[in-house]
């Protein structure tokens, strides 16, 4: 078993501003671990985490892939960008964090360029007005169906992925994963369910979508 990234540098003050790794985060880590042989044989050159929060997921991916890749992250929350960079440093993974909304500022330059993309979106059903109502709300408030932010990201994924590259997405049942599968298949991406787990009343899933070679 791979160790969970060291987050001992983060304080309760930090968790006022960024999402504290929870069941959903760990399901995503477990999924990457389970898929690690596939990930390694891809020999990823550029990995991206959208909305990196504490930086736990991209750091874990870095532990799987190793030094020969570039790790970039985005987060709309400047505190999250700072903390992501620190988490990388703490675990000896060089991360280039970008303070931006979703994937703004990397397209069209990075079309067909990214081997692995991870996204643990704000998936909780809320009022639309709750999205980005505060730094920390941006990490969980998902608006209608908990899907408003995720749905904005989906069309960029087939553009960003390198041929053969994969996108790992965490969802809950309320987000209607089947609808997302249909959307992604309409972009010609191949779907695979990596993991599902019940956390309290929440049924969580990690889906993988792969761009054909």
């Amino acid at each position: 078993m791979l160790p969970t990234p060291d987050l001992s540098h983060l304080t309760s003050q930090d968790y006022r501003n960024v999402y504290e790794p929870s069941e959903d985060t760990f399901l995503l880590l477990d999924s990457l671990e389970e898929d690690q042989e596939y990930i390694k044989q891809l020999k990823p050159k550029i990995c991206l985490e959208i909305g990196s929060g504490s930086g736990c997921v991209i750091t874990f991916l870095g532990q799987i892939v190793g030094k020969n890749s570039v790790y970039i992250t985005t987060d709309i929350n400047p505190e999250a960008a700072k903390i992501t960079q620190k988490t990388g440093k703490q675990n000896n993974i060089k991360i280039d964090a970008i303070n931006t909304d979703l994937v703004n500022g990397i397209l069209p330059r990075l079309e067909n360029s990214i081997d692995i993309i991870c996204f643990n979106p704000p998936y909780v059903i809320t009022e639309s007005s709750d999205i980005n109502s505060s730094l920390i709300a941006a990490s969980w408030a998902g608006g209608i169906k908990g899907r408003e932010v995720t749905d904005r990201v989906l069309p960029y994924i087939p553009k960003l992925l390198a041929p053969g590259g994969s996108f790992y997405l965490l969802l809950i049942q309320d987000n209607k994963p089947q609808e997302i599968v249909e959307i992604m298949e309409s972009y010609n991406l191949k779907y695979q369910l990596i993991k599902k787990r019940k956390a309290g009343i929440e049924q969580q899933f990690v889906l993988k979508f792969t761009k054909p070679l």
Partner: protein, 121 residues
């Protein structure tokens, strides 16, 4: 932000479609990093780079004088130089200016801020 990442960022102000890449680095502070050299990794990154933008940026910073077009064969010396340029130069503060619309993207604590105000999106 390392220069490899700078090579991936472009202006995304609504309607800005000309001269929006590369962003011009100004008033920057640099910290030198040490990264393990791996020739194969540098070679495998070449097709993900925008060579012209890299040559332009390193020239304007006075860091290197790369050929305008990517050479077909890269010498070991050139690979080491690219390694240093891409992975060992960390920009800790400064700004990136779009040559098309003059939008300024600040860099603080090594993190580029690509956020726009609502009217610019």
């Amino acid at each position: 932000m390392r220069l490899i990442t700078h090579n991936m960022l472009q202006c995304h102000v609504k309607g800005c479609t000309k001269d929006n890449f590369p962003l011009k680095l100004e008033e920057i502070e640099i910290e030198e990093l040490e990264a393990e050299f791996n020739a194969d990794f540098i070679k495998s990154m070449l097709n993900r780079l925008d060579w012209k933008a890299l040559a332009q940026t390193t020239f304007s910073l006075g860091i290197a004088q790369l050929p305008e077009e990517m050479p077909e064969e890269l010498s070991d010396e050139m690979l080491e130089q690219l390694h240093h340029i891409l992975l060992e130069i960390d920009i800790t503060s400064g700004r990136m200016v779009c040559q098309g619309c003059n939008h300024v993207y600040p860099i603080r604590n090594g993190i580029p801020n690509m956020l726009l105000t609502e009217s610019e999106v």
